[in-house]
């Protein structure tokens, strides 16, 4: 302001010393205020990130009010152990099987045994004659020739079938630390106000315990319709399959296109068109790629993507890992091309000239000199692009992560679910337990992506240190 003020009053070319000092003060005060405001904007961005992470972590751990059909302490005590020192997980597999035998109906046990047997050398629920008869049939169940259940598997069965945990209320990490009593009071009040919500349970049966929604068990369990035992192993496997297909498609094609555009393309109209078009494709919303994937991969190419062209037991429709992976591949392609082009452009021209000077053909120069130098840059860009693809949700919804899937994908022609889809589905459910599961799944996804991004940063730093 001071500059204009001086200009607008030409009579005061030379302010007195006092005025001068005052003006200077005013000017620097203003500058300080605005500088603080600018820094404040950055602080807001940091605050947003911190709040987001806090929200997710806050929901991933906390107190739960749980009602067990049988208390684990009673199960442990029934084997003569001291429940104070021995946990359910400390029981041997044999003891867990005994507990299972005592707690479930015989025909339920038979079904479990047919799914997967308990011991390789003996049967628990089924008689030997019946077993042999069932296994001799054409449609022999999976248990006939699979490996027996391990300790963790039987433990899970005991928890699922004997303990039968039912979480009636859950709270956040912060509330569990600061106001645990308030949570307990609210559960008590809820029991008193609408007992019909709790189907015959009484408040006395409620046990409060800490629950880490993100746990090893969560990461290794398949999805389920009961939140207490639901996990994300199916979703993680689905995401891994997607990444493999995305990479297999996007890297060769993307790097190939980048090499063509940077090293071989002469500036003519077709090549200009390709370049403009790639820039345009990078700006197309991901959901449009989803529509393309639905129309082309899921519908038109159904014989290929469902595997019915070459498999005996194809998927019922084209909503498979292959369709989704290719859709994500198309989505990632422009990003891979553009970042690979940047990496190739960073290779000094002297190398190309040296190659030419020695009589190498263009392709020989590219293959043996340009590409090897550009590889770290290409990889960095590709990792970032793949990290973006892992988090993509909208296109996957369209190409049909088909809702509720509990079996892990076994190949490119399986139906699947993926981590972001699982988060989306859990987030859209109203009950509080699902929100906690969604938080835990989000945390898993973020850890995965941060690891990938950190890898890319490390690669970039190593690359820039060795740069020519």
């Amino acid at each position: 302001m001071s500059l204009t003020e001086q200009r607008s009053s030409p009579s005061r070319y030379f302010p007195s010393d006092d005025e001068y000092a005052g003006l200077l003060d005013k000017r620097s005060r203003r500058a300080r205020v605005i500088q603080t405001v600018l820094l404040g904007a950055l602080a807001v961005a940091v605050l947003a990130l911190v709040t987001l992470l806090y929200t997710i972590i806050n929901d991933s751990f906390g107190l739960v009010a749980q009602i067990n059909a049988n208390e684990p302490e009673d199960v442990v005590a029934s084997f003569g152990y001291d429940p104070a020192r021995v946990g359910l997980g400390d029981l041997t597999k044999d003891e867990l099987v005994v507990a299972l035998q005592g707690g479930i109906e015989r025909n339920v046990g038979r079904r479990l045994e047919r799914e997967q047997r308990f011991y390789a050398d003996r049967l628990v629920f089924e008689s030997q004659e019946k077993w042999d008869e069932v296994c001799a049939r054409g449609d022999a169940p999976a248990g006939c020739d699979s490996a027996p259940r391990d300790h963790g598997n039987v433990l899970r069965l005991v928890e699922e079938r004997i303990i039968k945990p039912d979480i009636v209320a859950a709270t956040t990490l912060q509330a569990s630390v600061t106001h645990p009593q308030a949570f307990k009071d609210s559960v008590r009040a809820s029991f008193a106000d609408n007992p019909e919500r709790y189907e015959g349970y009484t408040y006395e049966q409620v046990r409060y315990k800490w629950r880490a929604w993100l746990s090893w068990q969560f990461v290794t369990s398949p999805s389920s319709s009961t939140p207490e035992i639901a996990g994300i192993s199916t979703a993680i496997l689905g995401s891994i399959w997607l990444v493999i297909i995305t990479i297999a498609f996007a890297i060769p094609v993307g790097v190939g296109a980048a090499v063509y555009l940077e090293e071989f393309a002469r500036p003519n109209r077709i090549n200009d068109l390709i370049q403009t078009n790639i820039n345009n494709l990078a700006g197309v919303p991901s959901i449009i790629y989803g529509i393309l994937g639905l129309a082309v991969f899921v519908r038109v190419l159904e014989p290929v993507t469902s595997g019915s062209l070459f498999l005996d037991d194809p998927a019922p429709n084209g909503r498979t890992v292959l369709s989704a992976g290719l859709t994500l591949g198309l989505l990632t392609l422009p990003v891979v091309i553009i970042s690979s082009q940047e990496a190739l452009r960073a290779v000094p021209n002297s190398l190309r000239q040296a190659g030419m000077g020695l009589g190498a053909t263009k392709w020989q120069t590219v293959r043996s000199h340009i590409l090897p130098i550009a590889v770290p840059g290409i990889l960095t860009g590709t990792i970032l692009a793949v990290a973006r693809a892992i988090g993509e949700t909208a296109p996957l919804i369209l190409v049909g992560a088909a809702g509720f899937i509990t079996t892990s994908p076994s190949g490119p022609f399986s139906q699947f679910t993926a981590l972001p889809i699982q988060i989306f589905q859990w987030t859209s459910l109203p009950q509080a337990e699902w929100q906690h599961l969604a938080a835990a799944a989000s945390l898993t996804l973020l850890i995965l992506l941060l690891t990938l991004n950190a890898g890319a940063v490390v690669l970039r730093n190593r690359y820039s240190r060795r740069s020519l």
Binding site: L3, R27, Q35, L38, G40, A41, L42, A45, V46, A48, L49, T51, L52, T55, I56, V253, G256, V259, Y260, L261, F264, L273, I274, N277, I278, N280, L281, G283, V284, P285, S286, I287, I288, G290, I291, A295, L333, P334, I337, T361, W363, R388, G391, T393, A394, I397, L398, A402, G403, P420, I423, F424, T427, Q435, A438, A439, S442, L446, L449, L450
Partner: protein
Amino acid sequence: MDSDQVTDAPIGPELKRRLRPGEGLIVASLFAAGALSIAITLGILYELGSESLLFFRDEAVSVVEFFTNTVWQPQAGVFGIWPLILGTLYITFIALVVAVPIGLAAAIYLSEYASPRVRNFFKPILEILVGIPTVVFGFFAITFMTPILRGIFGSSTVGFFNVLSAGIVVGILIVPLVSSLAEDAMAAVPNSLRQAAYGLGASRLEVSLRVVVPAALSGIAAGIVIAMSRAVGETMVVTLAAGASPRNFTIGSDPLFSYILNPFQGAQTMTGYIAITSSGDISYNTIDYNSIFAIGLTLFFMTLGLNSLSRRIVKRYRQEYE
């Protein structure tokens, strides 16, 4: 060896340019990889176009109605896209109100004020923000932003699904985009301009706001348009936080501020409609299936228009220095 002999010697067959059919094949396949991008664009246009054509051929639909009617009720066979466009534009507007001041201020600070140490602290944070999947932002909107808004304005005023929460979170999502594009534009301003201004006695603030920002204005504007296009195409946050009911309205009879532009109630967007409609097992050749292509086509042209606008701005108003 005598030099005359070398020049006079005929070029032997082993020194002639050899035909390398393998290499031609390689270059051809590299070209094919590049040309595939054209095929993708054509594929998008063809699929969106042909299915939209089926949609418009349906007797329940008319093109004029689609682009003029302000009611979207697929169950009743009323297809007017305006409620969905309203939802999209409203959320985009709120997002820009949040993201432009924050992103721009952050860019000015990072480009003109920050020491390398401060930069190295803030830049990775913005990069992490870019890397967070949008579905996680959607979760954030529902579990954090919406309850906070309902706490501030009262849960009777603010619906569980509301435009404001979705808009603010989309805004946070595009802050890093605005700031990094604006920072790039400011970094392209030559230092001589800054030095000239400093030489005239300008303060750092005056240099930033009166020299660098005006000089980078075209780049900044282009960046804001790109961010806008990103907000228009954003799907997960709006699907989760803004709800699944289109805000049908009648101009004239519906109150403007308490209904049509009420930020506290939900409104479905174009992307939200596409995601929700297709999340079940959608059957082919139904009017619902075809409608997502017609909306997709509209969305495609909207974002394409914004992206070309951004490129036009850069081309037209760019100052060439030196």
